[in-house]
């Protein structure tokens, strides 16, 4: 990447170090304001076992409704959270750019968008050596 930035140009603006830092890059005006509220970063988003399990399940089968995510968490992982709680977890993942929703027909489906995870490897690349 010629335009290297530790947060990546794609996510500049909402993966900010500080809430008070001014937004730079492609997000301007109302769009930047929209992202400035309730924004979280990928590290906080991943710091929760339920949210990691949601990503596991979406990685295994992408494009699930809230109902399917809830039933999978309950039956495969024994998690009996309320739908509202799971909905809030999905919101945190979406704010961090790890999940996107798409309306198909009259239902809303959730998709795993792993691109922000590449930032971790870019920031702390694995050393290219064989372990002894």
């Amino acid at each position: 990447m010629s335009e290297y930035s530790p947060w990546g140009s794609q996510f500049r603006g909402f993966l900010r170090l500080s809430r008070d830092e001014p937004v730079s890059g492609p997000l301007i005006g109302k769009q930047a304001l929209a992202y400035s509220a309730g924004v979280s970063d990928i590290y906080r988003a991943l710091d929760d076992e339920t949210r990691r399990l949601v990503l596991d399940e979406l990685a295994a089968r992408d494009g699930q409704t809230l109902f399917e995510i809830c039933s999978t968490l309950a039956t495969r992982h024994g998690l009996t959270l309320t739908r509202q709680a799971i909905s809030q977890h999905l919101g945190v993942l979406e704010d961090a750019g790890l999940l996107r929703t798409e309306r198909r027909g009259r239902s809303k489906f959730h998709y795993f968008t792993p691109a922000p995870l590449a930032e971790i490897a870019r920031r702390w690349p694995l050393p290219e050596r064989t372990t002894p």
Partner: protein
């Protein structure tokens, strides 16, 4: 006390009757005109004397926001038992039915969820052989 009838709101009673009989395979039981609407029920050919399903007009203003919110989150409003979820999924998909959730193993059963084209999501369920349904 017995459950002999349960109901689902449908956008259009005639279209609903076509879907629930021609596509799903239920049998018309009652079709009694009531003003502009009808007392319209279907039963399963596998249990002709079993519970009736009333296909009820969705005209009340509370119905639309209620059902829209459930459909958005993928939540089914009724559940029907089948012998084989995968076989029904393939049969119904072949007839153009859209599933919001493909056959899914939930441990002691298989489930899937489809759109009934009348404003509802419906879950089909098959208990796995040897599973105690009472639990």
């Amino acid at each position: 006390m017995r459950i002999e009838l349960t109901s689902l709101f449908v956008d259009d009673q005639r279209e609903a009757l076509a879907f629930y009989t021609d596509v799903l395979g239920f049998t018309k039981r009652h079709d009694v005109p009531l003003g502009e609407d009808a007392w319209l029920t279907v039963t399963s050919p596998e249990a002709p004397d079993g519970p009736e399903l009333l296909l009820e007009p969705a005209g009340h203003p509370a119905v639309k926001p209620y059902r829209d919110a459930l459909v958005e989150d993928g939540i089914p409003l009724a559940q029907f038992a089948v012998d084989d979820v995968q076989a029904e999924y393939e049969r119904l998909t072949g007839l153009g039915v859209v599933f919001t959730q493909p056959p899914t193993d939930i441990g002691n059963a298989w489930i899937a969820v489809f759109d009934d084209t009348c404003g509802n999501l419906i879950q089909i369920l098959a208990m796995k052989p040897g599973t105690d349904e009472g639990n």
